[in-house]
């Protein structure tokens, strides 16, 4: 099976998520990273590319899109791993060049940027994948299959949370580079709701298969001088009558990366937490709780399809991320339908989520319809 030729925008020295994308693309050996505009600083881009052994380095993503589209052996897909406000321009440039785009989330820093991406996706024959990587966890896909199969009956409650503590103090003022851009309204567009809330929201929709009808939100900025939300309490109303809550926090001391999903229906309930993602519980009403393990016994299809090693050999965040990349490779090579891949619609849902949270919070928690 041949490897997909991949490029990257962003992800130069000192970046975080770019390295994650590169590992994810390598794990199943489905991509070959051959070109990059790793930094807008030409020297840094060049040094980064050299360090990573990337053949072709560009300092400008527009030039890269144009040059790569013109090559016979040009890239077939590009990963965009820049801060949020820098997603739209490169995404549009590559889409216009007919090159498939794998873009980090959230979709953009503003609704305008998001709309521009949407327009470009619609106008292009290239594919657009948004790396809501948590959808790649095998047990999340298992949960989705179980819900779809009716194992939980009619859904009533979707409880999502994503709690961290790394912004407990105002580290954006004391030299933490990640904190700097992620708490800057101009570059991030939002705080916790964008950075992690969109993940939780996406996961809730992905697994439940429900659509949001309205939300209410109260956003907080606890750390002194913080310019974006660092905590959010959100209520959700779904189609069909299900209800939910979502809590996103970056000031919950003791929480590292506590993304957690609990869904309850008339017939059963499931609970899953990202920090030990190889385990999920499922309770059929009136029966003992079962511990479902990745690749373990009794899975009726589902998790077994997206795992590399036997049960009890834990897979983690990078393997879940890799599942999204591998599905993207299949999609790009015409070998899969990409049913499970997050894309533009998920991105637009996330942008609505951010906007609705901000509007609701500004209106004392009033409901905002989808």
């Amino acid at each position: 099976m041949r490897r997909v030729r991949l490029g990257m925008v962003g992800g130069g020295q000192g970046a975080f998520i770019g390295a994650v994308h590169r590992i994810a693309s390598r794990i199943d050996d489905r991509f070959e990273l051959v070109a990059g505009a790793l930094s807008s600083d030409a020297a840094r881009a060049e040094a980064s590319a050299k360090e990573l052994g990337i053949a072709r380095s560009y300092s400008d993503f527009r030039e890269m899109a144009k040059a790569e589209a013109a090559r016979e052996d040009g890239i077939e897909a590009v990963s965009i791993v820049t801060p949020n406000h820098m997603h739209a321009k490169p995404a549009i440039a590559f889409l216009e060049a007919g090159i498939n785009v794998i873009c980090d989330k959230p979709l953009a820093a503003t609704q305008e940027q998001a709309q521009a991406i949407a327009d470009a996706v619609k106008a292009s024959k290239a594919k657009f994948v948004l790396t809501h990587n948590y959808t790649g966890y095998p047990l999340i896909r298992q949960a989705k299959a179980m819900v779809a199969n009716g194992d939980l009956g009619e859904l009533r409650l979707v409880q999502a949370e994503y709690a961290q503590d790394w912004l407990t103090e105002a580290t954006e003022t004391t030299g933490n580079k990640q904190a700097e851009w992620r708490t800057d309204p101009a570059r991030a567009g939002a705080g916790a709701i964008g950075d992690i809330g969109t993940h939780a929201f996406n996961l809730a929709l992905f697994v439940s298969g429900l659509r949001p009808e309205a939300l209410a939100a109260e956003l907080h900025s606890f750390a002194a001088g913080r310019q974006v939300d660092d905590n959010a309490h959100i209520w959700l109303r779904f189609n069909g009558g299900a209800r939910g809550t979502l809590w996103a926090s970056q000031v919950a001391v003791g929480c590292e990366n506590g993304l957690r999903l609990r869904i309850y229906g008339t017939k059963g309930g499931i609970e899953w937490g990202q920090e030990n993602p190889n385990v999920m519980t499922f309770t059929p009403f009136g029966e003992p709780k079962r511990i479902i393990t990745r690749g373990g016994a009794g899975l009726g299809g589902g998790a077994g399809d997206w795992t590399r090693i036997p049960p009890g050999h834990p897979e983690g965040y990078l393997e879940g991320f890799a599942n999204v990349y591998t599905d993207a490779a299949d999609l790009i090579l015409g070998q899969g339908d990409g049913t499970l891949l997050p894309g533009l619609e998920d991105g637009l849902d996330g942008m609505w989520f951010i906007d609705a949270c901000q509007r609701s919070s500004a209106d004392d928690g009033a409901w905002v319809a989808r």
Copy 2:
């Protein structure tokens, strides 16, 4: 040390919480149950008393209050373990007779009943204890002490939840006696918010030491034909700027008695769950999480004071309940100040909570001030 002479109203054959109160009163051998009006049905009252070996049986609580007050060896305290709508009348009768009252929660089924109790408490020299029994767990008292001591810094978030699943189906229509009265608006006054929400709310206030300033709520009735709420999503605003959420549910499949409290401040966070109550985690910001155990190492006072057996020998629900009874015995005998005992004010807070939830939910989740 002599035993307090105790009476009981309610708790006859077939009842649930009465038996719990009796065990709780016995564990530390501080009470002697000598009189009861265990049922309003005279024959059932008599039979129940005989079965339990209670010396003096009454079929009418008013008669009991009068007779016991007149005896030299009459009861010094009475436990009221009737359904919610039957708290006020006996409570008032015993308070008026100068007999101390230990009353099950919530305070009453209506605000009017609650006010009448409040008036009677103020007019009486007798004490009034409300069995918010979860305050008796040693680690809950430890947590309260740690918050008061500043171990968590300035509080930011109080996340409480109480999830059960026993009302997933409409068992009130199929012969479940507990379900019948607990889902009857006339007898219970409210559903999940009264039965379990008040516990979670009380615990949040007890541990945090905060006062509520406002709440917003959305109540749901998922089971077909249910006349009260069986699920509630609540937001809380506390004095000093702390915020919180509270989720109460009786339809969360797979949850048995999931009362859980998480509190986060500027310096630390704690997490505790009732189902394994001998363990709590405490994370000082920037340090590894610690597992604090009941009676275990490193408690700077606190939990060690309310436990009977060494760490690793689990105490449970009944011992926590017993701590409330034992504190009540101390209070009645003039041996303690009852600082940790829940009482009238807690009951009124709970009644406000129920009322505010209902008003907010009826107003589409608008904030209701305390």
Copy 3:
């Protein structure tokens, strides 16, 4: 239902296990503690009895046995809660007086004492109960029922452990009274193997229903100057070909009271730990693991019979202990057959266990047959 009249030998001021027995006897209100020889020191015995409100105080257990046997309202049972070397004499005195005996474990400090008790039990019409209290945990009884029912198939492995850390340092030399007698060969007869190893051994036999055929052991004394074993590694051979291991330790830093049992057969496996005793896992081979909870869903008889409160309301060590007392009350009153009650045979098994461990260890771990 009338209460059994109970006496107590030992358990005066400063003792530990006596207070546990008293609470256990009270929880279900099946006993009335009316007489005691709480200490061999007359003044201390008197003061202790007065503090506890015990009507009749004796300073000599022989006198007590005689006097109580002569009274019409004399005690029907006596709890013996003295150190191990002081079990035999009072047990024999009361058995000879025809009074039922509830004795703490292990049976005795020496084989000779144990044999003397055995002779007395056989010669007496009174009952003899040994408080291997962990057999009273509902889920332990559930596990026993599941094994007996064949849910695990043919048993292969029984892995038991009991790890503590309270004797990590030589606290017997620095004033810890419990440590003093429990590490004194004369008073305790053995160290970890007697104090906790016998519990684990008893539990393994109780749940598995197997009989030991041989054991091999290596005993260690890690703390400086310790005169008894504080750690033991043991192998077990059972009838029918099952094999097992047992680890008992009082120097495993971080372990509070880690009694744990794991049993595996051809068809299933179960795992239970005492520190969170309301939960057990059961895995039918080739299916997902189930979490069995005390009183919870899907128990086919078993745990539901020995519990007072609904699932999710944790019961603990004291309630498990109380189940043994309550069964003893039934036995004494002729209302039950005592099938689940540990007694003389369990005590003799434990004494064989202690002796065999010591002999095997002295012989470099050679196998010792039952």
Copy 4:
């Protein structure tokens, strides 16, 4: 940084561990797989190589060693991922050709094969790495550092276990390929003790820094007709007086890949389990237990060095395996001293372990000295 040119022997279509090695070598992008003798069947070797995009395919490892050694761009290292009895011949061939060897464990199927490898390693200037991959887990390395630092004081106990259930039934007779060779004495050399026991033994030595002085073992073969051990109970004596136990099982129903290590010293204890490898507990004696997380707060050096993503983003088995590969790349490129890399000595320890277990078990559990 340039990639190390890697070859592979074994790991063709249908194999398991070969794919794991390939992923592990890719994760950090330190290797380039350019040659292989993936199967002794020429057509299968060719097809496998093609499928994997490996440039140079050989059907004979001797030919491969010779040809690659002769090329300027020949491989610098070879991964040997054949069944145990096929480790020695290719390892020796490549060592003799001066090519570094990365060999799967255990070292060999027989002591003779092991000795031959040892001789070849000593005679060669090439490096030899044995993939005891569990040593690559960040928290295992953290634990090793903590022990070395004296955080646990003087070690007393090392309790290791490795429990699985996949050989509960005799699946080697019903078409399970992995079961076939792993339970074949000729190809595997031993059963559970070789396949998983050596891992647990290696980990115990790696973390504790202790040397074994003697062991005693009882091996069992529970499944009908099984020709090797599927369960083993082992005692260990270490230098300096520490003692330990090791339990390896492939018939413990409900255990997936339960490798677990617990170490206790005079000052502290640690506990770690492979199935959730991002978490370890550490208890300083007399203080609350701490939860140490991979990359989390309060690590004084250690785990932070071998991790790619922030705490709370779980890494798993493949990342641990990748750490061994990455260290091997450093070693091969002369960029590291390989201090943490398992090699020949670890392999010989493992072979002694297997042999000693078999001899002890044949002698009714007698001690066998190192």
